[in-house]
């Protein structure tokens, strides 16, 4: 079926099979391989993207379900320009090593920062429990997220 959606601000129109997962549509049809696929059943969090602003697992959605909606992937953050404040915060805290889990975490944190007012460290830990990282031991990721969310909304985008 024909589906029209916006990906990182760009209008996309594609014909696709209903069984095509959103994650595979992004990676294989659009070549946006920054969205990683780990477990394909919603546990690892690597494929997290934003759907009309809300962080969602792209492996747990059919691409046809995103018809008319707006998707943001990790490629929509810095592009080829300077790092966004969130990405820069992750860099400064050494919050990534191999980087496989990072795109999903970045997209989840952006949604989380909008949805939760003054989240506690415990809530941040709870958020990150949905994202498997096998390198860092999580401590620098938690520090980076706490650093980022402690800023005013303006400081998160500037």
């Amino acid at each position: 079926m024909d589906v029209e959606l916006t990906v990182n601000g760009r209008r996309v129109r594609e014909r696709m099979e209903p069984r095509l997962l959103l994650s595979d549509f992004l990676r294989h049809s659009l070549g946006l391989t920054g969205t990683h696929v780990g477990c394909e059943h919603g546990v690892c969090g690597a494929c997290t993207v934003r759907l009309d602003g809300a962080a969602v697992r792209s492996c747990l959605m059919l691409a046809v379900q995103a018809d008319g909606m707006s998707i943001e992937t990790v490629e929509g953050l810095a592009g080829s320009g300077p790092l966004t404040p969130l990405q820069d915060t992750f860099r400064r805290h050494h919050a990534l090593q191999c980087g496989f889990c990072t795109p999903g975490i970045l997209m989840a944190v952006l949604g989380f920062a909008e949805d939760y007012d003054n989240p506690t460290r415990e809530q941040v830990l709870d958020l990150l429990s949905g994202h498997l990282c096998r390198c860092t031991g999580y401590a620098p990721i938690v520090d980076a997220v706490m650093d980022f969310i402690s800023r005013s909304p303006a400081g998160r985008t500037a």
Binding site: P18, R19, A55, L62, A108, D126, S129
Partner: protein
């Protein structure tokens, strides 16, 4: 890990969804948030011939009226979690929601989907049973209401008939002075619970150690009319541990799960009684 092929209809209204489900026959399935269904599709544990997407069927209302909160089937779990009225009107649900999946899966997972999926280890079905709520379904033989205690049969099995769709759930709002508490233990945050307990007044219900949300009537009878005390909570926990009969899992023996359920009941009662 790719779904087998299926037909797909994005329903534009409840009538459209019901007509598509009726036409699709017994191999048709509704899809809402998909946070349980899509993994099952990916692993090919289910191979429906038709998926009827109900996300845009107009089932996303939350209405507070006459002591009841009516929650449309496709209301996202996160929407309920972030609704300030949930804390005051449905305190038990507010306590349980952070245990439902993960932050990100709650953004997509729906209240009605969790109820219809009827996982014996799911939090929202347990809350609905503990509160004495109701499921409203629509289908070929019209609209009907099913008491939560009569809805859940066993793991993944409900009294929904072919072609029927959960359209909303009715949640009795908090009564002044009534106490609520939710407790569960899972090995890691976001994992399935080993055992879970919901307390609403003198109603104590358990899940995960049973194949469906189960009210422990004998525990309620023990608590009825008694003055709250640590000793009473401990006695209620010990009784609950004797009443449940869980099969062992790869993580825990039956004896451990019985003991754990007793501990969670005691803990939930104490917390309910000290909450304001």
């Amino acid at each position: 890990m790719k779904p087998a092929a299926f037909e797909y209809v994005a329903a534009r209204s409840l009538e459209h969804a019901l007509a598509a489900l009726a036409e699709g026959g017994e191999d048709a399935k509704p899809i809402a948030g998909g946070q349980s269904l899509v993994p099952a599709l990916n692993m090919r544990l289910v191979r429906p011939s038709l998926l009827v997407d109900v996300n845009r069927a107009g089932l996303h209302h939350v209405v507070h009226a006459n002591g009841t909160v009516r929650i449309g089937a496709t209301v996202r779990q996160a929407a309920l979690e972030h609704d300030p009225q949930t804390r005051t009107r449905l305190p038990l649900v507010a306590q349980a929601l952070p245990h439902v999946g993960h932050v990100v899966t709650r953004n997509r997972g729906t209240v009605g989907g969790s109820i219809a999926h009827a996982d014996g280890g799911a939090e929202l079905p347990l809350c609905l049973v503990a509160l004495g709520g109701t499921i409203v379904v629509d289908g070929p033989s019209g609209r009907r209401e099913i008491a939560a205690k009569d809805f859940f049969v066993t793991h993944y099995l409900t009294t929904l008939q072919p072609g029927e769709l959960v359209v909303e759930t009715l949640w009795p709002a908090a009564q002044p002075g009534e106490r609520y508490a939710f407790e569960e233990l899972s090995l890691r945050a976001g994992d399935y619970a080993q055992s879970m307990v919901a307390v609403s007044g003198t109603t104590v219900a358990v899940g995960a150690v049973t194949d469906r949300p189960t009210v422990l009537e004998e525990v309620g009878a023990l608590l009825e009319g008694e003055e709250p005390s640590d000793a009473l909570a401990r006695e209620a926990g010990a009784l609950a541990a004797r009443l449940v009969d869980p099969p062992g899992t790869i993580h825990a023996t039956p004896a451990y799960l019985e003991h754990l359920t007793g501990v969670l009941v005691e803990r939930a009662l104490k917390r309910a009684w000290t909450s304001s």
